[in-house]
């Protein structure tokens, strides 16, 4: 066995099929620790299935999926408990004293949730709820964070503001982050590496490493070109 201490997720020759329908054949990729990877592709190409395989909700028909570490997911729909306040939701399943730690206060500040600590989810906008969900994860001891199209339900402006807040919060915390999205701008802005998937059959048609630690550091022109090259690959 390879030394897997610096690998978070590894797909080896993974086949996945449902009855007659074959989704992937011989899917291979590796995600290293503390990487921020985006998985981009058209809908129906299996992004959610990849997520399910990583999270352990699905098992591959053939091949192996190796995961090192705890996984938490932020989904498109909020899973906050409506009868608990923001603070209580964040501290769910954890020792209540965590609410007094530096980490908690730091994140609360970075995600701009401070004024809303005692609000209830139904009083918050969609974007804020996503932030609370993220913070719930970040306050715990999670190694791997999966984001499944977390901003799809938000409007344009919100998407951008909240995206920035997310990135600011996650920057200091050294976790492996896997972002699943169909928004290419988002992928380019936020992540360090983009896996582009195509469908029928689902394969990785490109694996682009962006030479930056986090968003915003690439030049505008580069980003523009990159984006259109990805789009053209997806649409051929």
């Amino acid at each position: 066995m390879q030394n897997s201490s610096d690998i978070s997720v590894k797909f080896e020759n993974v086949h996945l099929s449902f009855d007659d329908f074959v989704l992937f054949q011989e899917l291979n990729f590796t995600i290293k620790k503390k990487e921020f990877v985006s998985i981009v592709g058209p809908s129906g190409c299996g992004k959610t299935s990849i997520l399910n395989l990583i999270a352990g909700y699905l098992a591959p028909s053939e091949g192996a999926v190796t995961v090192n570490g705890n996984i938490r997911t932020v989904f498109q729909n909020s899973s906050l408990f409506p009868w608990l306040s923001v603070r209580e939701n964040i501290l769910i399943g954890k020792n209540k004293t965590k609410g007094n730690t530096e980490v908690y206060k730091y994140l609360l500040h970075k995600l701009k949730l401070e004024p809303f600590e005692n609000f209830y989810p139904n009083q918050l906008s969609g974007g804020m709820r996503q932030k609370v969900e993220l913070m719930r994860i970040l306050v715990g001891e999670t190694d791997i964070i999966l984001l499944d199209e977390p901003f799809s339900a938000l409007d344009y402006i919100n998407r951008i503001t909240i995206r920035n807040d997310f990135v600011n919060a996650m920057k200091e915390l050294d976790k492996t982050i896997i972002l699943i999205t169909h928004d290419i701008d988002e992928a380019i802005e936020m992540s360090q590496r983009i896996c582009v998937l195509n469908k029928k059959p689902t394969t990785i048609i490109d694996d682009i490493g962006l030479n930056k630690s986090y968003s915003g550091e690439a030049g505008q022109q580069q980003l523009h070109d990159l984006k259109y090259s990805i789009i053209s690959k997806l649409t051929t």
């Binding site: 729909n77 899973s79 408990f81 409506p82 399943g93």
Partner: protein, 255 residues
């Protein structure tokens, strides 16, 4: 500001009340119906005063309250846990639900002859009828509410390693809280209506019995006094449920 609102409400309610009484007074004054069939407000008031000064009145209230609370509490402590279990674990509970539904549609009053045969006369048949009236609607409601809890909540519970006890106390009960209280409120209404009828046949005291007794003694004015009491008590008790509903936290499902 709030004070003005309060008085405004008070005024409207009194006005409505006053109109009703006036209409009633007019009808009885004009002798549209004979006195013994349609008592006048005057007679009712006199009977009421006499009633309020009797022990019997309060003891009747206590008996009815005792029976309905007993039956209701039994229902709460059986239907809720059972309903949660069925809602969570029984995939094929459709047939069970059909059975519950079947019983739900049998008027609780139809059980009266059996109640008397099995439990004789007194508290027990009335309590039995209350349980028959409230158990089935409640358990069906609990099962539906539990089934409606979004999967994502259970996922979160699993991720954060909720124990079985936590699942029940911290996830399920809070999640179904509003629906539960609303459903309880309805069941209580049914029980209140039913106990009056149950007492008419199966007991020797209580509000229902008192009405029936008054009617058999051809004292309809006393019967009306009790009817008014029943209505007022019903509202007061209903307010308990409404109050608890306002104290629920957050809206159940965020949009």
């Amino acid at each position: 500001m709030k004070v003005i609102l309060f008085f405004k409400l008070l005024f409207y309610r009194s006005a409505l009340f006053g109109i009703l009484i006036s209409v009633w007074w007019i009808i009885s004054y004009m002798k549209v119906f004979p006195e013994y069939a349609f008592p006048s407000p005057n007679n009712i008031w006199l009977s009421f005063v006499k009633l309020v000064n009797s022990f019997r009145f309060y003891s009747d209230i206590m008996y009815s309250l005792y029976r309905i609370l007993f039956g209701f509490l039994v229902t709460i402590f059986t239907a809720i846990p059972l309903g949660v279990l069925i809602g969570l674990y029984l995939r094929s509970s459709k047939s069970l639900i059909t059975v519950f539904n079947f019983f739900r549609f049998i008027s609780p009053l139809a059980w009266i002859p059996f109640a008397i045969l099995w439990f004789q006369i007194g508290d027990k048949p009335a309590i039995f009828i209350i349980i028959m009236a409230s158990f089935f609607p409640l358990i069906i409601s609990v099962i539906a509410a539990v089934r409606n809890i979004p999967e994502s909540f259970f996922r979160v519970a699993k991720e954060y390693q909720f124990s079985k006890r936590d699942m029940f106390m911290k996830l399920i009960l809070p999640a179904i809280n509003r629906e539960l209280i609303t459903s309880l409120r309805i069941c209580f209404g049914i029980s209140w209506v039913v106990i009056i009828a149950a007492e008419m046949v199966g007991s020797q005291d209580g509000l229902g019995y008192a009405i029936w007794d008054a009617r058999n003694g051809l004292k309809l004015d006393v019967a009306v006094c009790y009817i008014i009491t029943i209505g007022v008590l019903g509202i007061l008790l209903d307010n308990i449920f409404q109050y608890c509903l306002t104290k629920t936290r957050g809206n159940v499902y965020a949009k």
